[in-house]
Amino acid sequence: MAPRFLAASVCLICAVSACPQSADEIFRKGTELFERRDLAAARQEFLRLTKTPSYEPKSRYYLGRIALLESKPAEAIAWLEPIALNIPSILDADAQLSRAYLDAGQIERAKLITERALRQAPWQGSLHYRLGRIYQQLGDSEGARKEFAESVRLKSADRESVELLLQCSQSLTSGAAPKAMRIRQELLDNPSLDPDVLVALGLTFTAVGLQAESLEPFRAAAKRDPSFFQAQYNAGLALLKLGRAGEATPYLDAAQRLSPELADANSALALAHVLQAQYANAIPPLEKWRALQPANTRALDMLALAYLRTNAAGRAIPILREAVKFARGDPKPYFLLIEAMNAAEEQIAALEVAEDALKLFPALPQAHLAKAQQLARLGRYRDAGPLFARTIELAPGQIDGLLGLAEVQQKRGDYAASLGTYERALTIDRTNVTASLGTARNMVLTRDISGARAILEAALAAHPDNSQLHYELARVYARLGEKALAAEQTRILQELRASESKTP
């Protein structure tokens, strides 16, 4: 056998069986590729060693680091978790895992593993810095201060910026906002500043409620490292808190893609969509959130709402039944369930839910209102009357209560009382359509046709496309002998109804 052929055969056999001698070579090659940041090639090498017992832990370590560099914290966690608990530890696997947890937003886990890593390597300034950030996010400002101080002491490379960060935080807590703003600008102006520091800077402002001031550091961090979950997430969150859901969405979308298994990432993205009434877009992150936190009533409420608003009441109902079970002290799921049941034409079942809600929340005006409205939907106006009245007693400014009571009064023929109640509602909302219609109808029934005309014409000025107003006005004009005007209103009504029926 020629020597060349022999060598090739050995190579082939080693490649297949990963023999110890060639495993060394593969590992060495993998580390070289890793150092050169040829991550894809490095990954191929390390993957070849995951079934070789002597190299499996180290290969996992590098595969974890590759995943981190590729902004795949969930994958990094999967590689690193099994080896982080090894004793002796594999390289700085604990420290890498702590970063993975942090990137994935698993703050509690990040805290535990970072504390453990620090017990093994207390000289690691970067770990102190990371723990400081974790404490900061957990609201432990004293712990954060200590860890930052320790990192300053140990991590000479970041000493200056961390020191500025500390000064900024102290200035904010001592009321020296201008100084804090100067430091903030100084840090923002540093083009080589670590995104970690920028996020920490943003969080410093967030901690004292200065969302607008926190935004720029988060945005800068996200720009410098788009794969940095904390930067994307916090930038999105700050925008959400500032009521800029549209701008928040791309950040939160990026954060959710970086950490799809993180409940907060899904909930924040869903909220951004819901705030923009993009209910269909909100459903995937909400479903994910629900899968991650099945007992979270906020997730259930919001998901049900999204289904409700996308005409899928049938899907909302079981979700809300679950929410009701988990949140006995929260009336919101009850009210949403009533709405969903009505949308699914389950009015009698909705009445039962309204009755349950009233039993549980007897002091809540909304609970009285919900039952009253449900009875009214079933045509039981006589039963609804006292509940509408009680709603108004508990909340005199509750316009829906007034509108309900006024309708009850009208339907029992007490037009004078109804007129008075509708007028009360109009004092709360001068252009309320229901109140305007009700007032006009009472006027027609009591033969004050001119009064009805005035009310309806005023209401139409504010709501020109409301078909019911046109319907009533057509009738009123006809009674006044204004045939042409009546015909015109009828024509508009028919046009509006035709366009309504074409709307899907």
């Binding site: 049938g314 699914a344 034409e345 389950e346 009015q347 009698i348 079933l378 045509g379 039981r380 106006y381 006589r382 339907k411 029992r412 023929g413 219609l437 109808r441 027609v444 029934l445 078909s467 019911q468 319907y471 009533e472 057509a474 009738r475 004009y477 006809a478 009674r479 009546a486 015909a487 009828t490 009504l493």
Partner: protein, 564 residues
Amino acid sequence: MIRFISFSLLVLASFMLAGTSRVKFQDVTEKAGLKALIVSGGEKKNFVLQVNGSGACWFDYNNDGYMDLYLVNGATLAELQGKKPVQSHRNYLFRNNRNGTFTDVTEAAHVPGSGWGFGCVAADYDNDGNSDLFITNFGTNLLYHNNGNGTFTDVTHRAGLAGGNIWHAGAAFGDYDGDGFVDLYVSGYLDFDIHNPELKTCEYRGVNVHACGPMGYRGAPDALYHNNGDGTFTDVTVKAGVVDKNLYFGFTVIFDDFDGDGKPDIFVANDSNPNYLYHNKGDGTFEEIGVQAGVALNADGKEMSSMGVAVGDYDNDGRMDLFVTTFANDNYVLFHNEGGGFFADQSYQSGIAEATIPHLGWATFFLDYDNDGHKDLFAANGHVFPEVDGKIAETYRQPLQLFRNAGRGKFREVSGEVGFSTMPWRSARGGAYCDYDNDGDIDILVSNIDDRPQLLENVGGNRQHWLELKLIGTKSNRDAIGAQVEVEAGGLVQYDHVRAGGSFISSNDPRLHFGLGERSSVDRIEIRWPSGTVERLPSVNSNQIVVIKEGFGIVVPPGDAKRP
């Protein structure tokens, strides 16, 4: 004093109870010999064609003074598609034997109908003294001319009333131009392809059902036919301005003078669409004013699934009110006539709305069942989807409902008191009232879908006084359709008009019935004939059927009507 008050209260209480607990309706279908089976496609409902059922008409075809009964029958898809003979599901003419029983004379009278029938209405269209019969069909309608010898002749094509190959539903006769001949309005329901019916599945309150519609279908047009006075009719739909331009799903039709101008207007109950009210302009044309008049939509400005129509003056103010039966989970709607052609939805104020919400209504009419002088209200109910049974709170078979007029515009449901609640529930459709035994109280016929009809005899209604009027026109159309009658007895004034059509694609006893309570005579009868002639009659005794001929006053009735 205390004793006097107690006595007064007792009298008052007994008055209030009078006519309620003492009147019962008794199912006498079997005893009366009404052996008929109404078919509408079979019990499984796969298509909208199969769910509407059919109507019933009371008319005196043999002029013996007793009302006879015509029942329209449906068919099956196989029959209509020509896969099976239609013979097995013919219509029925039951001759009144004047002893509480009926005889099926359909074959002898040659009125079996054809195809899939829906509505019917009777009137003497040629003023020859015999009531003729018009039947709406899926496809060609039928006009049966009464030969006056117990037989009829199909004159549809000669008369020009075939109506084209569409789904016709309701029909009503009325003399809109006052020429002394009754004209005919026919409603069209929807465009259903009998040869390629599409099996649909839709969801009704979470239940999958198949007889989806009418939404999703194209409507079928209505038509107005002018009676030429020579046995023929002309389609004047366009000329008269009653084009169903929206192609709404038309059901029950009725002519009546709703604005008190002496000219018959036309009301069309449209399913799931706004209703039409055509105002008669007096020049042979109409103007659609449903919206302005306030009857197109309900009080909330929403269209109803209007099925049946009752017309009557429930508050004795001289103006004809309207009542419309609708779909389940929607209240039936009582439109009070406010005068001047304007209506106000008084469904809730009257106490009727709430009790009707669970039901799906069809046949309906005002009737004074207890002869107290105040018109009460009847509604026959039944769902369109058999699939709802056992799945939701609604049921396919539903109870009949009767609302007693409590005065001051209020009604109270007395269905239980009159025996309806102990009757087996059916899925009712058509229906009409009639004093079939001429005993002075109003009886009820209900046509149930895929089932036997029910004849409900009023037992005890005639404990109070009454008067019935049969009007014969001379200058006016012979059936006096459109005649307006005012009856005064002991300070109580009542009003009614002669109509042909209404309820749910049915037709009631054409005679006018007035309950008089304790009043043993009528002080005054005033008739405004369709010709414009006003005739005033002196006092007459109660508890009789009076025949009044235009220009001749009270005449001896044809035949030998019972005079209790």
